[in-house]
């Protein structure tokens, strides 16, 4: 079966000349339809550069990227590719174009030439999906960061993409805003089968993905489930990824001879594992 997105031997430099630094160095990766993929890696490792190849904002120096079988180098397909794969960036302020929430969401489909009546339906649907429908008449500048990001996501959804790329969408938000955006992403993925590619530095966000890809100096060094990745403490240390406190707690208790079988990926799991252990203790 063909994947949704195929990245084949992708190489990329920002400069033309031959000995320019290779930012991406032979990336091979398949992204399946409907999956939630998280990308982790150090500053400057090439994450943003990679994700920009998935909607033809950048083109490979060598190798190919296919979106639903369409080569991103095929200029006639750019329009189809960009309406299949939408991109959300880090700074909420840079992505809002209109001063009223519903106008902002309508902007994308208007540019696509969608009929006004259909636009109305799509805007309402998109705003409901991100739970911002009650704010449809509000001014965009009065929203919190998390609300702005959700409006930006609604703007992408109104164009009915099959996949949304998000480049650190929460890094400028407070914990509340981060949770709102993450819940929105999970909802789109689970209930509307939208493929998600999320770049993040927050491990507690990455654990929600189906798979995590780890990139280092322009190469993919591992792709696996969160549970497998976070079980391998040595690997995490080698690639300087942080170990979430709850993972570390269970790990250190085990090292000290406490007999725990599972690893915890989040606070709830951690509490359950420890409660079970100490309950059966008497």
């Amino acid at each position: 079966m063909k994947s949704f997105i195929d990245i084949i031997d992708l190489n990329f430099s920002y400069n033309e000349d031959n000995n320019a630094k290779k930012i991406l160095n032979g990336i091979n990766l398949n992204i399946k339809k409907g999956e939630f993929l998280a990308i982790l890696g150090c500053n400057g490792s090439g994450k943003s550069t990679l994700i920009k190849h998935l909607n033809a904002m950048l083109l490979p120096t060598k190798g190919n990227v296919f979106v639903k079988g369409m080569n991103t180098k095929d200029e006639r397909k750019i329009y189809d590719i960009r309406s299949t794969v939408g991109l959300i960036l880090q700074n909420p302020d840079n992505q809002i174009v209109a001063s009223i929430v519903e106008d902002d969401v309508a902007f994308g489909p208007e540019n696509l030439g969608v009929a006004p009546k259909v636009i109305r339906e799509r805007v309402d649907m998109a705003l409901k999906l991100v739970d911002m429908y009650d704010y449809r008449k509000s001014t965009t500048y009065s929203l919190s960061g998390g609300q702005k990001q959700r409006v930006a996501i609604a703007g992408i959804i109104a164009m009915q993409p099959e996949c949304i790329l998000l480049d650190e969408p929460t890094s400028m938000l407070d914990p509340e805003g981060r949770k709102e955006v993450l819940d929105t992403i999970k909802n789109l993925n689970k209930n509307f089968e939208i493929t998600i590619v999320l770049i993040t530095h927050y491990m507690e966000e990455a654990v929600n993905a189906d798979r995590i890809a780890i990139i280092n100096e322009g190469k993919i060094v591992r792709v696996n489930t969160p549970r497998a990745i976070f079980s391998d403490i040595i690997f995490l240390k080698e690639y300087q990824l942080s170990i979430p406190p709850v993972v570390e707690l269970i790990h250190k208790l085990r090292l000290n001879g406490i007999n725990l079988n599972n690893i915890a990926l989040d606070e709830k799991e951690c509490i359950n594992i420890l409660k079970n252990y100490f309950n059966s203790f008497e």
Partner: protein, 284 residues
């Protein structure tokens, strides 16, 4: 004498207009030299507004701020000196990059202070080491950097001025875990070994708990607490009422109280938690 003293500070944005907004309400604080201060509060609580006062970017509506006992605004002409002594890394510092090379960008602050070229170069190298910024990036355009690299350049520009008081407004956003940890360690070292004062604004309670001597908690412009991490984070109900959560480990330990009686409510770190749980197992 306090290094920095804040007396009856009130600040109102757009005073006298219908949009007037009281962002700080009668704040009183005394910060010592060589303290590491955490500043926390939900979005809109007034953290950035307070920080901007300490760097003399905002002038109090009421009250005053004293640096080494001297009122900031007593001699408005000397305000520039305050800004050399109190360095500030803004919330979205990468928006302030504007020079054609990274080198020039970092040199901007020290040049304004009137330092000589070779001193500036030394400061720049020191700042790059501080923040773990690859020297090869110094001659690139700041616009050709990754998000995290831009942030590092912006922080380096303030470090290069070697301020007595360093204020950082959510500096770790967008940094990878290793760079984040390294920045925090360096800040800690700056404060410990050079007897500086550091004020860190962050939403990451683990970081705040780990590094702060004392923590300022703001809510809706009011000072709610100013105390040690253990005291602040054991007040879980008060924290929740102002929209804050304790460090993750503290919540986990609290949930375990029903099965592990007697656990302290002042556990903040993984190592403290491991020790407490192992003790319980041993003494049972």
């Amino acid at each position: 004498m306090a290094k920095l003293e804040i007396k009856n500070l009130t600040y109102i944005y757009s005073e006298g207009t219908p949009a007037a907004k009281k962002a700080l309400n009668n704040i009183n604080l005394r910060i010592k030299q060589n303290e590491f201060i955490g500043l926390i509060g939900r979005t809109g609580s007034g953290k950035s507004t307070l920080a901007k006062h300490l760097n003399a970017l905002l002038k109090p509506t009421e009250g005053k701020i004293l640096l080494d006992g001297e009122d900031f605004w007593h001699k408005p002409k000397k305000i520039r000196n305050v800004r050399f002594k109190v360095g500030m890394v803004f919330q979205y510092p990468e928006h302030q990059l504007f020079e054609e090379t990274v080198y020039k960008d970092i040199a901007f602050g020290p040049s304004n202070m009137g330092l000589l070229e070779d001193e500036i170069e030394k400061k720049i190298h020191m700042a790059c080491e501080f923040i773990n910024l690859d020297f090869n990036l110094l001659y690139k355009s700041p616009f050709e950097l990754s998000g995290g690299e831009k942030r590092k350049v912006a922080i380096a520009g303030v470090i290069a001025m070697d301020p007595e008081i360093l204020i950082l407004d959510e500096p770790t956003a967008g940094l990878d875990p290793k760079s984040r940890e390294q920045l925090l360690c360096q800040l800690h070292y700056y404060y410990k070994s050079r007897e500086k004062t550091v004020i860190l604004i962050s939403h990451n309670m683990d970081d705040i708990a780990k590094y702060s001597d004392r923590i300022i908690v703001l809510d809706d412009g009011n000072l709610i607490m100013f105390d040690s991490p253990k005291r602040v984070f054991s007040q879980i109900d008060l924290l929740k009422s102002v929209g804050l959560e304790p460090p993750q480990i503290t919540s986990v330990m609290r949930s375990l109280l029903e099965v592990v009686p007697g656990l302290s409510d002042e556990i903040l770190t993984v190592d403290e938690a491991v020790e407490a749980l192992l003790n319980f197992v041993k003494n049972r």
